[in-house]
C-alpha cells in the first residue's frame, strides 16, 4: 500500500526532480573537473549494479553477499573481449556480459533461491569466494592476481583512440555510460512497478501467502536473481574500461559488502535509495580516504551507525522528514 502511494506521489512530484537531477548529472563534465567527472563515471557503473542488486535485496528480500561476482564477470568480459579477442565493441561487450552473467546466475541462482535469509547470504558468499579463487588460480587464463588489461572500447562502432584518455572518459564515454544508466533505471522502474515487481514484494513480506495465491516463489526469486546479476555485469563491464585493468579483488567478499553498504546507506526500501547510497559512498570514500589512513574505521562506524540509528538509510530519513512536514501541513 505504502509503496503504491509512494509511486503515485513520485509520479506527480518526483519525476520532474529526477529529470532535473539526471540533467545535472549529465552536465557534470561541463562545469566540474575531470576527476570529479571520473568519480561520477564510476558512480554510474556502481549505480547500475546496486539498482539491480536492490531488486534482489530491497524488493525480493534476499541478501546476496557475493554479488560482486557478477560485477567481476562483466569486468572480465570486457577484459577478454578487448585484450584477448580484440573485439573492442562496447555494445558487444555489454551483450556478452549480460549473456555470460545471466547463464552463470541462472545456474547459481537455481541453487541459491531455495534458501533465504542467512543461508542465501552464505551460499552467495561461498560462490563469490569460489569465483575469487578461480580467478586467482587459473592464472594462465585470467592473469591471476595481476588481472588483465582492458583496452579502450569502440562506442557504437566508432574508434575514439585519437582522443586523450581523460577527455574520452569525461566526454563520450561519460555520456554513453549515463545513457545506459538512464535506460536501465527506466527499465528497472518498469520492472518494479509491473506485476512481477509487486509479486516480489508480496513474496518478501509473506512467502507462504504468495505461494498460496499461486505465485511460484522460487521461480520469481530466480528471475530476480538473474536480472540483478545481469545488471551487475553491465555495471562491471562499464567500470572496466574506465579503470583500464581488472583484478580478482573485484570479487572478494568485502567488495560484495560494499554493494550492500551502498544500498543500505541510501535506503533499500526506496527505488532511488541505492543510487543515493552509491553516490554518497563514492564521494565520502573519496574524501575520507585522503583524510586519514584509518578510513576503514570511519566507514565501519558509519555502517554501524546506519544499521542502529537509521536503518531506512538516507532516503528513509528524508522520507520520514517529508512525511512529518506533510502531517504538520
Amino acid at each position: 500500500m505504502k509503496n503504491r502511494q509512494e509511486i503515485a506521489r513520485l509520479k506527480s512530484l518526483k519525476l520532474p526532480l529526477v529529470i532535473v537531477i539526471g540533467l545535472v548529472l549529465l552536465c557534470v563534465p561541463l562545469f566540474a573537473g575531470q576527476f570529479f567527472s571520473y568519480l561520477m563515471l564510476t558512480f554510474f557503473a556502481y549505480a547500475i549494479t546496486v539498482i539491480g542488486f536492490n531488486l534482489l535485496f530491497g524488493y525480493a528480500g534476499l541478501l546476496s553477499f557475493g554479488h560482486a561476482l557478477f560485477m567481476a564477470v562483466g569486468a572480465y568480459t570486457a577484459a577478454f573481449l578487448t585484450s584477448t579477442f580484440a573485439l573492442p565493441y562496447m555494445e558487444l561487450i555489454l551483450v556478452a556480459a549480460v549473456i555470460v552473467s545471466a547463464i552463470l546466475a541462472a545456474l547459481i541462482g537455481a541453487l541459491c533461491v531455495r534458501y533465504i535469509k542467512i543461508y542465501f547470504a552464505m551460499l552467495t558468499l561461498a560462490f563469490g569466494m569460489l569465483f575469487y579463487t578461480f580467478l586467482l588460480k587459473f592464472y594462465y587464463l585470467t592473469g591471476g592476481d595481476e588481472g588483465m588489461r582492458v583496452l579502450r572500447p569502440y562506442l557504437l562502432g566508432i574508434d575514439f583512440s585519437g582522443t586523450p584518455k581523460m577527455q574520452f572518459l569525461a566526454g563520450t564515454y561519460y555520456i554513453y555510460a549515463f545513457v545506459i544508466l538512464a535506460i536501465l533505471t527506466f527499465v528497472m522502474w518498469k520492472i518494479v512497478s509491473s506485476p512481477f515487481g509487486l509479486c516480489l514484494k508480496a513474496i518478501r513480506d509473506n512467502p507462504e501467502k504468495a505461494e498460496y495465491l499461486g505465485v511460484s516463489v522460487k521461480k520469481y526469486r530466480w528471475y530476480a536473481f538473474v536480472i540483478s546479476a545481469a545488471y551487475a555485469a553491465v555495471g562491471g563491464a562499464l567500470l572496466a574500461p574506465a579503470v583500464g585493468q581488472v583484478d580478482p579483488g573485484l570479487t572478494y567478499w568485502t567488495q560484495s559488502g560494499t554493494l550492500v553498504f551502498m544500498s543500505l546507506l541510501g535506503g533499500f526500501d526506496y527505488f532511488f535509495g541505492p543510487l543515493i547510497g552509491g553516490i554518497v559512498y563514492i564521494l565520502l570514500q573519496n574524501s575520507v580516504m585522503s583524510l586519514t589512513s584509518y578510513w576503514r574505521f570511519i566507514f565501519g562506524a558509519i555502517l554501524v551507525f546506519v544499521v542502529i540509528v537509521a536503518p531506512g538509510g538516507i532516503a528513509g530519513v528524508i522520507g520520514s522528514l517529508v512525511k512529518r512536514r506533510e502531517r504538520r501541513d
Binding site: 576527476f35 570529479f36 584518455k165 589512513s293
Partner: protein
C-alpha cells in the same frame, strides 16, 4: 620542447654535478627561505601511495615512514630549489581504487610527482595511466611486468621498480655458490604471479649452474596465509636438501618459526630470497644460522662507511623502534632521484622543469641513496645492488643478520633491457 631527447640528455650530462658533491653539500645547504629564481613559489606536491593494510602493509608502512622522514629532512634544508615539499597520501588498495586515487592525485591535488605502489597488479593498472595522464610515477616496488615479460618497454613518465624475479635469480646464484652439493629442492611460494615467477626463475638459474638438481615439489599457499603447519608437513614429505621460498612479508617469521619448531632445518638448507622484507622479526631463537637470506636492495648494515645509511638507520630506529626494511630504500631513492633530477634540470634551464623534462633526466640517473649509488636505467627501470648472505647469530640484536654478504649487481640479476626475454637471457649465460 624544441630540443630532441638526445640533445637534452647531453646537455644534462655536461651540467651534471657529481652526485657525491650534491650529497656532501646537502647537510650544509643553507635553508633557503625563498624559492630560487625562476621557480614557482608554491610547494612541490608529492603524492605518495603506500599500501597500509594486508600483506603489503609491512613494506608499505616502512616506505611511508621513510617518505615522511625524507620530506622533513628536505624541508628543514630548504626544500627543493627553495620550494617546500608537501606530501599527499592516498592508500594503495585494489587496482580500481588505485586508478581512482592516482587520478585524484594528478587531477585534483595536482601533484608534481607520484611515488609509491608495491603490487604488480596495481602497477599494471597505473603504468599506462601515468603515460596517458603525463604524470610522473616513480614506483617503489611495483612493476608493469606480466609474468616475467615487461609490458611497457618504452615509457616517458612511469619509472618502474627492479624486475620481480631479480631476487630469485640472485638466490639461485648464491644457492649454487654456497650449497653446490644439494640434489633436491622444494619450493614454497605464494600462489600469485610473483611467487610463481620467482620459482620458475629460480629453477632456471639453478639448473644452469647445477644441471643435476631435482625440483621435487612446489607448494602454493595463498598470499596472506598465516598458518603453515600443513605446508610444513608437505615440506617434510618432500624431504629435500633445500627449501626455497620467496616470501617477503609477515608470513616469513611464521614459516620460519613453524619450520624450525617442526625440525625441518635439521635436514634441509634453505633459501629465503626475500625474507629480509621482515628481517627484524626473524628472531635468533627460531632462525637457524647458515641459510640464505636476501634483503632485496637494502641491507640495514651493509657497511659502516656510508654516512647516509648510518644516519638514516639510527634516525629510523630512534623514531620507530624498528630496523628499516628494503622498501625504505626504494622510497628514499625515488624521492632523492626526483629532487636531483629537478635540480639538474634547473641548472640547465634556469626554471622549474616540466614533468617530461624531469622524466628525461631521470632516465639513466644515478644518485646516492641509502644503499649506495643507485639509479634508473635508460629503459626507466630501477637499477641497484641486491644484498644476500648466510644468516648469522653473531650480532648484538635479537634477530639474525647475514655474514658472507654478497652484493649482487643489476647486471648479474636483471635482464639487460626491458624488452629482453628472461629465459633466453639466462640460457645465454656463460657459467
Amino acid at each position: 620542447m624544441g630540443k630532441t631527447r638526445r640533445e637534452f640528455v647531453k646537455l644534462v650530462g655536461g651540467a651534471a654535478v657529481g652526485a657525491g658533491m650534491l650529497l656532501a653539500g646537502r647537510g650544509k645547504a643553507q635553508a633557503q627561505a625563498k624559492p630560487a629564481k625562476g621557480v614557482p613559489s608554491g610547494p612541490v606536491r608529492i603524492g605518495a601511495m603506500p599500501g597500509l593494510s594486508g600483506v603489503i602493509a609491512v613494506p608499505g608502512t616502512a616506505a611511508w615512514r621513510t617518505t615522511q622522514m625524507w620530506a622533513e629532512e628536505v624541508n628543514a634544508a630548504g626544500g627543493i630549489l627553495g620550494r617546500k615539499v608537501e606530501l599527499s597520501m592516498e592508500e594503495e588498495t585494489t587496482a580500481k581504487d588505485c586508478v581512482e586515487r592516482f587520478r585524484k592525485l594528478t587531477l585534483e591535488t595536482k601533484c608534481d610527482v607520484i611515488v609509491g605502489l608495491m603490487s604488480t597488479g596495481n602497477g599494471l593498472a597505473v603504468g599506462p595511466l601515468a603515460e596517458e595522464l603525463g604524470q610522473l610515477w616513480l614506483a617503489w616496488d611495483a612493476t608493469t611486468q606480466k609474468g616475467v615479460v615487461e609490458t611497457m618497454p618504452r615509457t616517458k613518465f612511469s619509472f618502474r621498480s627492479t624486475d620481480n624475479e631479480a631476487e630469485a635469480i640472485g638466490g639461485a646464484i648464491l644457492t649454487a655458490k654456497f650449497f653446490p652439493n644439494i640434489k633436491t629442492v622444494v619450493g614454497i611460494n605464494n600462489d600469485y604471479s610473483y611467487g610463481r615467477d620467482c620459482w620458475d626463475a629460480y629453477q632456471a638459474v639453478l639448473k644452469h649452474f647445477n644441471p643435476n638438481v631435482k625440483f621435487v615439489d612446489a607448494l602454493w599457499p595463498k598470499l596472506g596465509e598465516t598458518d603453515f603447519t600443513s605446508h610444513i608437513a608437505a615440506l617434510k614429505k618432500a624431504n629435500a636438501d633445500l627449501i626455497m621460498t620467496s616470501f617477503w612479508s609477515g608470513d616469513v617469521p611464521i614459516l620460519m618459526k613453524q619450520a624450525t619448531a617442526a625440525g625441518l632445518f635439521k635436514r634441509s638448507k634453505a633459501c629465503f630470497t626475500t625474507g629480509g622484507g621482515a628481517h627484524y622479526t626473524l628472531k635468533k631463537e627460531f632462525t637457524p644460522e647458515g641459510i640464505i637470506l636476501g634483503y632485496n636492495s637494502f641491507y640495514f648494515k651493509w657497511t659502516d662507511t656510508w654516512p647516509l645509511l648510518t644516519k638514516f638507520v639510527n634516525a629510523y630506529y630512534a623514531k620507530y623502534k624498528e630496523y628499516p626494511v628494503y622498501e625504505t630504500d626504494h622510497a628514499y631513492f625515488v624521492l632523492q632521484a626526483y629532487k636531483e633530477a629537478v635540480e639538474k634540470c634547473y641548472s640547465i634551464l634556469g626554471r622549474w622543469p616540466t614533468k617530461e623534462e624531469v622524466g628525461k633526466v631521470l632516465s639513466g640517473i644515478q644518485v646516492p641513496s641509502l644503499s649506495g649509488f643507485r639509479g634508473y636505467r635508460e629503459d626507466n627501470l630501477m637499477s641497484c645492488n641486491f644484498f644476500m648472505g648466510l644468516t648469522s647469530h653473531k650480532n648484538p640484536y635479537d634477530f639474525v643478520t647475514i655474514n658472507q654478504m654478497e652484493v649482487l649487481t643489476p647486471v648479474q640479476i636483471m635482464k639487460p633491457f626491458a624488452g629482453a626475454k628472461l629465459y633466453d637471457w639466462i640460457k645465454g649465460w656463460k657459467s
